[in-house]
């Protein structure tokens, strides 16, 4: 073979490689483009989701208040002349005093118009007045100026969610009320304030009085029960299965079943809770205790699986080192393996808990879907939890609950983000290298 022939051959091979190279680079570029498109789509969807929730829900954190001048008529509030808190609470007609003043100011004609006027205020207004007077009994007989909550309809009007130009028959606020509203606005009697009640009160039929605190406390109690039950049991099960159990048919069977349980739909656990905890053991309905027990059952497989994975990830050299020094198996586990595996176990637990926090279906089965106004005082009190509260509000017809629903979703998301962030933090903080 001559030199030139060989160089032609080499050039031919190079050409082949070059063409192949083009193809390979093209496929790489294409693949990268798919990846970027996927990421962009994912981000857009996430932004859309968060954007919708925030734009619907941010107004749930504010509330419209109305300034009223109330004559604290002694005849109505303290007919017997006694001003101790008990008597005021029992006998004082604060609603009457409020209506009397409003009627005098706005001069509604007839009973129907008077009802329209009163409907502009929250039913909570008289209690605001009552609290104020009980705290300052010397005000009785005088005319005071006080801020009270507006009704949800006025609140929605202030927030721009009500259209004024639709026909009067088609809207809840009548023209007369709109005129009064405009007069109040002109007199600077309308104010938008931070809605602290949203974070401090329980559920209510009135949107302006409904709060998420009852659901937060319910969720907290439920999670507490879940954690107390699922963490020790899950941890002990994981340690036993990974470190002590003999490898045989029985442990294989247990392992397969634990893995399967992790994939069981959560409502099945709810049915189990209904059948076993409520019907057989007759534990209280709608209680965080039972909810926590059901969620603990649901979370257990997650904790066991993540716990075993973390234990398995501890290098065998650490076990050998301790065994070689004469540590017993218990000492090997408690002194070396468990501390090294703990960050992973905690991460798995927190992620399992976060999942449980967002769970609705199993709690519906055990009656936590009830309408509960009171803040639960303990794990056996009837209560609801955040996701169920969201579900309940989403189901309510009033316009005011739309923003509450999104507002509650935001609160729930904040809790979930905090929990997941703490999982990341714990992992980073306690991660040890060897």
């Amino acid at each position: 073979m001559t030199d030139s022939a060989q160089s032609v051959l080499i050039a031919g091979q190079k050409e082949k490689v070059r063409r192949g190279l083009d193809r390979r680079l093209r496929s790489e570029r294409r693949f990268r483009a798919y990846g970027i498109v996927a990421i962009v789509l994912a981000i857009l969807m996430l932004l859309f989701l968060v954007g919708t929730i925030v734009s619907n829900g941010y107004s749930a954190f504010t509330q419209t208040w109305i300034k009223v001048d109330v004559l604290l008529d002694e005849e109505l509030i303290a007919p017997d002349g006694e001003t101790d808190p008990e008597t005021l609470r029992e006998d004082g007609d604060f609603r009457g005093a409020l209506i009397e003043t409003l009627v005098a100011d706005y001069k509604p004609e007839g009973r129907a118009q008077e009802d329209l006027l009163v409907a502009m205020f929250s039913t909570e207004a008289e209690w605001t007045l009552q609290r104020h007077v009980i705290a300052n009994p010397d005000l009785i007989g005088r005319k005071i100026t006080i801020w009270v909550k507006s009704s949800s309809d006025i609140d929605q009007l202030t927030k721009g969610a009500v259209r004024r130009d639709s026909p009067e028959s088609g809207r809840k606020l009548k023209d007369l009320q709109l005129r009064w509203y405009d007069r109040m606005t002109a007199e600077n009697r309308i104010e938008t304030r931070f809605n602290s009640g949203f974070f401090s009160s329980g559920d209510s039929r009135e949107p302006e009085q409904a709060g998420i605190w009852g659901a937060i406390v319910g969720s907290f109690l439920t999670m507490l029960v879940t954690l107390v039950l699922a963490f020790p049991v899950g941890l002990a099960a994981a340690v036993y299965l990974e470190e002590f159990a003999p490898k045989n048919r029985l442990t294989d069977l247990i392992e397969v079943n634990v893995n399967n349980l992790a994939a069981v739909p959560s409502i099945v656990f709810g049915l189990l809770g209904l059948a076993v905890f409520l019907n057989f053991f007759e534990l209280p309905r709608s209680a965080p205790l039972v909810g926590g027990m059901v969620l603990a059952l649901m979370t257990l497989p997650t904790i066991i699986i993540s716990g075993r994975a973390s234990l398995l990830a501890v290098p065998p050299s650490v076990r050998e080192a301790a065994l070689g020094l004469g540590a017993s198996r218990m000492q090997v586990v408690s002194h070396h393996v468990l501390p090294l595996a703990m960050p992973g176990i905690l991460t798995g637990t927190i992620i399992g808990m976060a999942r449980a926090l967002g769970e609705t279906a199993p709690l519906l089965m055990i009656g936590m879907v009830a309408f509960i106004v009171d803040i639960p005082g303990g794990p056996t009190d009837a209560s609801t939890v955040m996701p169920v509260q969201i579900y309940l509000w989403a189901d309510s017809p009033e316009r005011g609950f739309v923003e509450k629903t999104s507002g509650a979703v935001m609160v729930l998301l904040v809790f979930l983000i905090v929990m997941n962030a703490s999982a990341v933090y714990l992992r980073k903080k306690f991660e040890r290298r060897w």
């Binding site: 003999p246 490898k247 290098p315 050299s317 650490v318 076990r319 050998e320 080192a321 301790a322 065994l323 070689g324 020094l325 004469g326 540590a327 017993s328 000492q331 002194h335 070396h336 090294l340 040890r432 290298r433 060897w434």
Partner: protein, 277 residues
């Protein structure tokens, strides 16, 4: 390669003299008779009968997979932790059957320490690494005793001067060679009679290796040492007795100089001259 080995032997002239002394005072520390090990179906070790002399270094050599590490792990029952492993035969420490039901494996491992292939300090401070053994066995009653024991152990392992100012640093922050000496100090702190070393230098550089070999030679004064090694030079340098394993059989055992200069078996001959390995 065998030139190096010969050099190593020549470079240690006192070996012959001390061997002569040892021959007179030779005392068997551990005896093993017909040791067989099965991993499930695999017959990993066949009828190994070997005596390990007190206060001398016994090197176990042989190609990979020959069973030398398996044999070593029988000596302190580390194989107990492997479910599928079955050990038969008689293994004695000072005449006591170590596989007897009356023997507590925790106590056994306190008398037979072990150093592993890869340095494996605990992810704790240097001090805690050494103090761990004495603590779990309750060897010391107060802090002063513990401090002293830790210092002594680190000194014996030739590490104290390098780490005395940073006993609180994590053991994993040391260099590879220092970590391995820390592991030796950790084993010594429990007060063992026998120290098993499973290729202690295989992950170390030549300087760190030389340091460990020196240390092994010093430790021989007080401890019985069994070392598994892949390096024939190392076996020649540090050991008094050598045992050659091949495919689960103990082929030949004897005085180290004899094994390396005048092996009786042709497989041994083949291995030490580098024909297979």
């Amino acid at each position: 390669m065998d030139e190096n080995i010969a050099e190593a032997i020549v470079a240690a002239p006192e070996a012959d003299a001390s061997d002569a002394v040892d021959a007179e005072t030779f005392r068997v520390k551990m005896t093993t008779r017909n040791v067989n090990v099965h991993y499930a179906e695999k017959h990993a070790l066949r009828d190994v009968t070997l005596d390990i002399g007190e206060r001398e270094v016994t090197a176990l050599i042989g190609p990979s997979g020959c069973g030398k590490s398996t044999y070593l792990r029988c000596l302190n029952r580390m194989n107990d932790t492997i479910d599928i492993c079955r050990v038969t035969g008689r293994l004695e420490l000072d005449g006591q059957d170590i596989y007897d039901d009356s023997v507590d494996v925790v106590q056994l491992r306190a008398s037979i320490g072990m150093v592993f292939q890869k340095p494996n300090p605990f992810p704790k401070s240097i001090f805690d690494n050494v103090a761990y053994g004495p603590r779990i066995h309750g060897l010391v009653s107060d802090r002063a005793d513990l401090d002293q024991l830790v210092e002594q152990s680190l000194r014996k392992a030739g590490l104290f001067d390098e780490v005395k100012d940073r006993l609180g640093d994590p053991g994993t922050s040391l260099s590879g060679g220092q970590q391995q000496r820390l592991c030796i100090a950790r084993a010594i702190a429990v007060g063992p009679e026998v120290i098993l070393m499973d290729e202690p230098c295989s992950s170390l550089d030549p300087i760190a290796t030389a340091r460990i070999e020196e240390l092994i030679d010093e430790l021989r004064q007080n401890y019985t040492i069994v070392i598994v090694t892949h390096s024939m030079q190392q076996a020649a340098r540090v050991s008094q007795k050598t045992a050659f394993f091949h495919l689960g059989d103990l082929i030949e055992q004897g005085e180290t100089p004899q094994i390396f200069t005048n092996p009786r078996d042709e497989k041994t001959q083949g291995y030490i001259t580098g024909r297979f390995g």
